[in-house]
């Protein structure tokens, strides 16, 4: 077997097996580029700009009233993309961290929602914790291997890039599409797969810490992050210094930058420490420059030292993946490139199918069923989640789980139906039709249920973050409707157009 033959087999099967899993990861990751905007869209309480905002000291008091003996509390002040407080605490019994989203004007806990965070978590661990994280890593390794083997089998990358044969037989047209999306997205896909793996590298590859730190990961993180810690002395503290004053102090120290999250360790103890982190979106490496203050006297105890070359490289790579730098234009590009990755996967699956439909083979029904269930099911489920967000009563207990059930239920419905109808040849059209109806209906529902966040209102305010979501939904709905219409036209064999292009020399 020649190298190209063996790589073709590896690319075909090593590409097919993780395709559906990768589709879920790509799709969720693309949407997660705008997770903070979605988060706000899903929280009608912060659709209108708040007139005023609570001070940090008030938020601290709210947290300490909820958990007087917390080990630690943390606060994320409002930002442009998330105009509300994220706050939380670590309970005294060391159970799970508690996370709250607080209305910036009143300090009330806002109605529960899974928010845009749902897609972010789906992207990196499928909402399945550690196990999911490893499954995603395995998919990413498959992706790297598929990319490298794809490059090896692709003899004429440059020439093929300009080859599109939409009127050719199915397999060849899909192959051209697969190559086009694959080649245009190649640098991005390599970057994304590699940096995605790099983020959790200490979980996936412990060899270096085993060797150089004798397995002591904490010591390694102390070396690179330089966090300051102080044991509690179990003596009640004098009244604490004002957090707002400390943040102003930190701004003077940094030269005026946006505040990231701040935390208070052992609040109410004599040894309480306030950590304040910088959040700098203007650079890819967002060095947090953590300042640690004594919570009582406000004295600066410790300042984080700049990252070493190694950790700065790691931060640079991982932040290239996270797309939190460079504003909305970078995120929009990542979203488009991510969707291009989805298109590459779908067209690759079609190549596999068309080839075997033409010459027969095993597994055709299974692949068709999975295509309908996953490629069709996830987008429908995502839209259903947004419907759930608007329709589930705000005061319902465990509202987040209810939203998740809407998502899961919609996905299961589509999956069952796609499996049953796998050989009808109509699944794609019907899914597109459902997507068109759902996507076009959402802005309408939004206007009916939450008038302060309706498209006309947000456009009038110049609130592009919220308006953008509705506009993208309308646009997607129209695209899906047109695609569905095209698929429902009677498929006649078109007479081949006269070739104006010179035939490729073989």
């Amino acid at each position: 077997m020649s190298l190209r033959q063996s790589m073709a087999g590896l690319h075909t099967w090593g590409g097919l097996l993780p395709s559906w899993l990768l589709f879920v990861i790509f799709f969720a990751g693309s949407i997660a580029c705008f997770d903070k905007e979605l988060e706000r869209w899903m929280r009608p309480a912060v659709h209108e700009p708040a007139g005023h905002s609570l001070s940090l000291d008030q938020v601290r008091d709210i947290l300490l009233a909820k958990a007087p003996d917390a080990h630690a509390i943390w606060i994320r002040p409002p930002s442009e993309r998330e105009p509300f407080f994220w706050a939380g605490y670590e309970p005294a019994d060391e159970s799970e961290f508690v996370r709250l989203a607080l209305d910036p004007a009143t300090g009330e806990v806002m109605p529960e929602t899974v928010g845009g965070l749902f897609f972010f978590t789906l992207h990196y661990d499928l909402n399945a914790g550690m196990i999911g994280m490893y499954i995603v890593a395995i998919a990413a390794m498959f992706m790297l291997v598929a990319l490298i083997s794809g490059i090896i089998i692709h003899r004429r990358i440059f020439k093929d890039f300009f080859t599109l044969r939409p009127d050719a037989n199915g397999q060849r047209a899909w192959l051209d599409a697969h190559n086009l999306f694959g080649v245009v997205g190649l640098p991005f896909h390599l970057l994304i797969a590699y940096t995605g793996l790099a983020i959790f590298v200490v979980f996936y590859m412990p060899a270096a810490i085993q060797q150089a730190y004798k397995g002591n990961a904490e010591e390694f993180f102390r070396d690179v992050m330089g966090a300051y810690e102080r044991e509690d002395v179990k003596r009640p503290a004098p009244p604490a210094a004002s957090l707002d004053a400390l943040v102003a102090e930190a701004h003077r120290h940094w030269g005026g930058n946006e505040t990231g999250w701040l935390s208070v360790h052992h609040p109410g103890d004599e040894a309480a420490v306030v950590d304040i982190r910088r959040y700098n979106r203007s650079q890819i490496v967002d060095f947090q420059w953590t300042l640690s203050f004594d919570a009582a006297s406000g004295e600066l105890l410790h300042e984080q030292k700049p990252y070493s070359a190694g950790y700065a490289s790691y931060a640079w790579l991982t932040n290239l993946h996270m797309a939190q730098f460079g504003g909305q234009i970078v995120r929009a590009l990542y979203l488009l490139l991510g969707l291009m990755g989805c298109a590459m996967l779908v067209s690759g699956l079609q190549v596999w199918l068309r080839k075997r439909e033409a010459r027969g083979g095993y597994g055709i029904g299974l692949v068709r069923a999975l295509n309908g269930a996953v490629v069709g099911g996830l987008p429908v489920a995502s839209l259903a989640l947004l419907y759930g967000n608007r329709l589930i009563p705000a005061d319902m207990a465990a509202r987040g789980s209810a939203e998740t059930w809407v998502f899961v239920g919609a996905w299961l419905l589509v999956a069952v139906w796609a499996v049953l109808r796998r050989n009808s040849g109509k699944v794609a059209r019907d899914v597109l039709l459902a997507l068109a109806v759902l996507a076009l209906g959402l802005p309408l529902l939004n206007a009916l249920v939450t008038p302060q966040g309706s498209l006309l209102t947000t456009l009038g305010r110049g609130d592009w973050d919220l308006a953008g979501i509705d506009l993208v939904l309308l646009f997607s709905g129209v695209v899906c409707a047109l695609a569905a219409r095209r698929l429902s036209l009677p498929q006649v064999e078109k007479a081949p157009r006269r070739r104006r292009l010179v035939e490729e020399s073989a």
Partner: protein, 98 residues
């Protein structure tokens, strides 16, 4: 060009196992090796060695399917792993230098 050989089920299974397990072992040994011998400070050795592991793993997998025979894959991966692991684990205190 190698002789066109019909790849048997055993050959394929051996390659798949070599790719997944042998590839990870080689990546593990290479990471350990680099974390000891890179001429950098300790935390930087750990970061750069760890970041390199995915390159080693990916190319080990590619090699597992490109090589002439499954036996050759196993010999090469096992050999490389053994050499790098020995080099990494023999000098016990060299790796923890600052």
């Amino acid at each position: 060009m190698s002789k066109a050989k019909t790849s048997t089920r055993w050959d394929l299974t051996a390659r798949v196992l070599a790719a997944i397990l042998g590839g990870y072992a080689a990546a593990y040994a290479a990471t350990a090796f680099l974390s000891v011998y890179l001429p950098l400070m300790r935390s930087d050795r750990v970061v750069f060695a760890s970041l390199a592991c995915f390159v080693v793993y990916t190319f080990a997998i590619i090699y597992a399917f490109a090589a002439r025979s499954a036996l050759r894959v196993w010999l090469v991966l096992a050999g490389a792993t053994a050499l790098m692991a020995l080099a990494a684990y023999l000098p016990s205190d060299f790796g923890v230098r600052p």
